[in-house]
């Protein structure tokens, strides 16, 4: 049966992802157990007549329920993974209903980050569809008394062609459900020629809801009787409340209660930051009450943090020998010989995510159990932190996943959901915590500030005979262990230890840096600063050698080969190196492709215009970008055109992939033009879009062309890989147009706007 019902007159208002106008629909879970349900959170797929997988159920009316276990933040994974199931099932997409999973370990890793939804779950989705199709065919064959091998499927139907018989999936579901679920070895997957949806243009399942305002984000979740909370948090990481006014805020109309939240213990991880919460009847009253708190803070040791001195410290560290993380040949011996050397320092500041939907979560603690509705990339991490904070079992935390108004990595870190749960327990009522934009900017897990020192000894042909690169940045593990100061392999792999060049003498190092703010994953993560350093330094060397940057780049990439990571800890984004080897030929190919498509070397560039190129692999995907810029006498930068070529192996959803790369160019534009978070005495200086501007329509590339390489290689990530090469190519284009080398981001530091 369908478990969607009209619940607008009951206390439970919206739990589903889509609400239909004024009539509010909620998908029921948990409190509305049906007879026979074994779990507190059975899905419609679980309840369906034929339930052959956690991801899939088929009702006798032919409705196919597919579970989206990963979060939707704009990458279309909520649509694309179910498309793979539907394709292998031969299901009619019009009869598919997608149901968002709650956090539940039976789905495996649900952390929707690292651009790995498709790489990690493509096979599982195919197998889920294939198993159900196998069972439906068996059921039809039994009914007709014919061998199963003579039956096949067409759209939503099993057919026996020689006798011209057919039976719909709905009418076969009940008989199929009595059959054993086949083992993997019994399954035959559809040949590529029979694919209906994979590789075809497909738009989001939620498209109409998105344009009509009916889509439900975390900000839109409501429960009858819920209160709204706004929290004043310690302005310096690790700070504590000394005193506050608990009377004045209560005089604000609509304010009901003031509740302290404990500061975090030891490393922050995903714990609430602490502070004072104001609880009110509506969001605005909570915001107003907060202004009257008059808190006095004990800022603690991170008060020493100033971005300008910290930058100098990073740079100084990078100018001395650091920890060697990869070495080929003997770079030192070559440098010791003297000769022509080129060196440069590159710097990228802290960056904030600034997703359009500020952080928000709704929680209800009742009868020893917590139920949350949150725009989270990682509902199982919500379960973990809420169970720890409330001292209840993880199974007693139910986390519904709403749509996300952007995530970019911030919503993998559920400190905001933990706040809502803590407050609901203290209030004894449902509480929705709403972060302001200022909170969102000031209490982020920032992309690390990073300094890179680059040095090359150059031969007579202008090519490097030795190459040294050192990066220094406060590492993400510092949020879990305050003593962590070195880059970990998972982030050093991101465009640093896997430099794709064929170099006889290479040394890669990483230096220590202590974190004073929370550091976290942000779209493309360490690839942002690593690709910026390597790809812009390459452009410098090309110009120093008087070479065309494209030719020079191809020369350094060299002949097609597989990178040997012997002696290097290289996690390969969690994928096996034999399935996903690092093939420089594929990087070379996208570089040549983007050069050809962009008309590299063929287009005329007048005064103040120029093009730049960069190539970078990340999240298992090979990308090259060409960016064209125009810079006028006032230093105003325009981007008339961007070309990007990518090889992501098999591309399941080319439409969504193109959109991700168009978006990556815009995200990268923000980084280059204005992206910078700084701190003074441990307090973040920026607060909203006036001082942390993100790119607007008049500042972005006028035209971004995306070229997808046709490939049958295993699928790779597409959400993040476009950003790093775009940033480097953009900066290289500025050099081509102006002769000014961008080594310090953002470009406002060079007087550009």
């Amino acid at each position: 049966m369908s478990a969607i019902e009209n619940v607008s007159r009951r206390r439970f208002l919206t739990g589903g992802i889509v609400a239909a106008g004024a009539l509010v629909l909620g998908v029921r879970y948990y409190r509305n157990l049906l007879p026979g349900d074994k779990l507190p959170h059975n899905t419609n797929a679980d309840r369906a007549t034929l339930h052959s997988s956690d991801y899939l159920g088929i009702n006798s009316d032919g409705t196919v329920w597919i579970v989206a276990a990963r979060s939707e933040m704009g990458t279309t994974s909520r649509t694309t993974l179910p498309l793979v199931v539907a394709d292998e099932l031969d299901a009619d997409w019009k009869r598919v209903k997608i149901e968002q999973a709650i956090g539940d370990k039976r789905y495996g890793d649900q952390n929707t980050d690292g651009s790995h939804s498709i790489p990690s779950y493509y096979d599982a989705m195919r197998l889920a569809g294939a198993a159900a199709r196998f069972m439906l065919i068996q059921a039809a064959a039994q009914r007709w008394g014919v061998p199963a091998e003579e039956c096949e499927t067409d759209l939503h139907i099993v057919v026996h062609r020689s006798t011209n018989r057919g039976a719909g999936y709905g009418e076969l579901a009940s008989a199929a459900a009595k059959l054993p679920v086949p083992k993997r070895g019994e399954l035959k997957l559809k040949p590529k020629s029979a694919w209906r949806y994979i590789g075809k243009r497909k738009v989001s399942y939620d498209l109409e809801a998105l344009v009509t305002g009916k889509a439900i984000y975390g900000m839109d979740a409501r429960l009858d009787g819920m209160m709204y909370a706004s929290v004043e948090r310690p302005p310096v990481l690790g700070g504590k409340v000394k005193s506050y006014d608990d009377k004045e805020p209560l005089k604000v109309a609509g304010v009901r209660q003031i509740i302290p939240i404990d500061p975090f213990q030891q490393a922050p991880a995903f714990q609430p930051l602490g502070g004072i919460a104001v609880i009110a009847d509506n969001t605005w009253a909570a915001f107003q009450g907060r202004k009257k708190l008059n808190i006095s803070w004990d800022n603690g040791p991170n008060e020493i943090y100033n971005s300008d001195t910290y930058k100098n410290e990073l740079r100084a560290t990078s100018h001395s020998p650091c920890k060697v993380v990869r070495s080929v040949g003997d770079a030192d011996a070559v440098f010791a010989k003297g000769g022509k050397v080129h060196e440069a320092d590159y710097y990228v500041p802290l960056l904030a995510h600034a997703a359009m939907e500020p952080l928000v979560a709704l929680a209800e603690f009742r009868d020893g159990k917590a139920t949350l509705w949150a725009p989270t990339q990682n509902p199982q991490a919500v379960q973990d932190i809420v169970s720890k904070e409330l001292g209840i079992a993880k199974e007693d935390v139910i986390c519904h996943v709403t749509l996300l108004g952007g995530g970019f990595g911030r919503k993998s870190k559920p400190d905001y959901a933990a706040e809502a749960a803590v407050l609901s327990k203290k209030m004894g009522r449902p509480v929705k915590v709403v972060w302001t934009r200022e909170d969102d900017i000031k209490f982020d897990y920032y992309n690390a500030v990073a300094s890179m020192y680059m040095k090359a000894a150059l031969g007579a042909d202008g090519k490097p005979t030795a190459w040294l690169q050192r990066s220094v940045f406060p590492p993400i593990p510092s949020i879990f262990d305050v003593n962590a100061v070195y880059g970990d392999p998972a982030h050093l792999q991101q465009g640093w230890t896997d430099i794709p060049y064929d170099l006889p003498n290479l040394r890669i190092e990483n230096g220590p840096a202590k974190a004073h703010v929370r550091i976290g994953w942000l779209r493309s993560v360490a690839n942002i600063y690593h690709a910026f350093g390597i790809q812009c330094f390459t452009d410098e060397l090309a110009h120093a050698a008087g070479r065309d940057p494209l030719d020079y780049l191809l020369d350094l990439i060299g002949e097609p080969r597989t990178i040997d990571f012997k002696g290097v800890e290289y996690p390969n984004y969690g994928a096996a190196l034999d399935a996903y080897p690092w093939e420089t030929g594929r990087l070379r190919h996208v570089t040549e492709l983007v050069a050809e498509k962009s008309g590299w070397g063929k287009r005329k560039h007048g005064k103040g215009t120029g093009v730049g190129i960069a190539a970078h692999k990340s999240f298992l995907t090979y990308v090259a970008a060409v960016v064209e810029v125009e810079v006028n006498d006032q230093g105003e930068v325009r981007i008339p055109r961007v070309d990007m070529a990518l090889d992501a192996g098999l591309v399941v959803n080319p439409e969504a992939t193109r959109a991700q790369f168009e978006g990556a160019a815009v995200f990268g534009t923000s980084v280059v033009r204005t992206g910078e978070i700084t701190a003074t005495k441990g307090v973040i200086d920026q607060s909203n879009f006036q001082d942390y501007p993100v790119a607007r329509i008049n500042e972005v590339p006028n035209q971004t062309n995306v070229y997808i390489v046709e490939s049958d290689a295993p699928p790779a990530g597409v959400g993040e890989p476009g950003v790093p090469p775009f940033i480097a190519a953009f900066c290289n284009a500025i050099f081509a147009a102006t002769g000014k080398r961008v080594r310090d981001l953002p470009i406002t530091k060079l007087g550009f706007s």
């Binding site: 509010v24 939707e72 933040m73 704009g74 990458t75 738009v203 989001s204 939620d206 498209l207 109409e208 998105l210 344009v211 009509t212 305002g213 889509a215 439900i216 984000y217 839109d220 409501r222 709204y228 109309a253 509506n282 969001t283 605005w284 009253a285 915001f287 600034a354 997703a355 359009m356 939907e357 500020p358 749509l403 108004g405 952007g406 995530g407 970019f408 709403v434 302001t436 934009r437 200022e438 439409e655 959109a659 991700q660 168009e662 978006g663 990556a664 160019a665 815009v666 995200f667 909203n688 879009f689 006036q690 993100v694 790119a695 607007r696 329509i697 008049n698 972005v700 590339p701 035209q703």
Partner: protein
């Protein structure tokens, strides 16, 4: 008591007159199509029409909404889909979608006043609406597609 019309329906509001219209729409009326993005009129996610003009509801206090006709996305088109929304679907504009209602309200107001806006006019009109996913190229294309359909 403040009187106003929201999507054609008479409403009266007896609360704090300094409360921004956005929170009245979202928290009091339950019209959650208009989004909170910045609270200071810098991102456009909260855009509604007030007497036909695109207006940032997060910085429009209830006192200033008195006697006004407010249209939110929920009331943008009686048939359910305005030409701008249809164009948004045809061009497949949204990624996360959070800002898109504000973009659509802004674009609909633009096309009310300019039947065939140039690229420059589109940029001028839309530069107050931020899209962090970066759908701007498609927003421009969709506005042009809607203009064609509405011509």
């Amino acid at each position: 008591m403040i009187q106003l019309k929201v999507n054609g329906v008479e409403q009266s509001f007896g609360g704090e007159p300094e409360m921004p219209l956005l929170w009245y729409l979202r928290d009091v009326l339950g019209l959650t199509g208009s989004k909170f993005g910045c609270g200071v009129g810098l991102c456009g996610a909260c855009t509604v029409h007030m007497n036909g003009q695109a207006t940032r509801s997060c910085v429009t206090v209830m006192r200033n909404a008195a006697e006004k006709e407010v249209t939110t996305v929920e009331g943008l088109d009686e048939s359910g889909l305005h030409q701008v929304q249809k164009a948004w679907m045809k061009i497949n504009v949204p990624q996360c979608g959070y800002c898109q209602v504000g973009q659509i309200m802004q674009a609909a107001a633009l096309l009310d006043s300019k039947k065939k806006p140039t690229d420059h006019e589109i940029d001028e009109a839309m530069s107050g609406n931020i899209c962090r996913c970066g759908t701007y190229q498609r927003i421009r294309a969709a506005i042009k597609a809607a203009a064609e359909e509405m011509a």
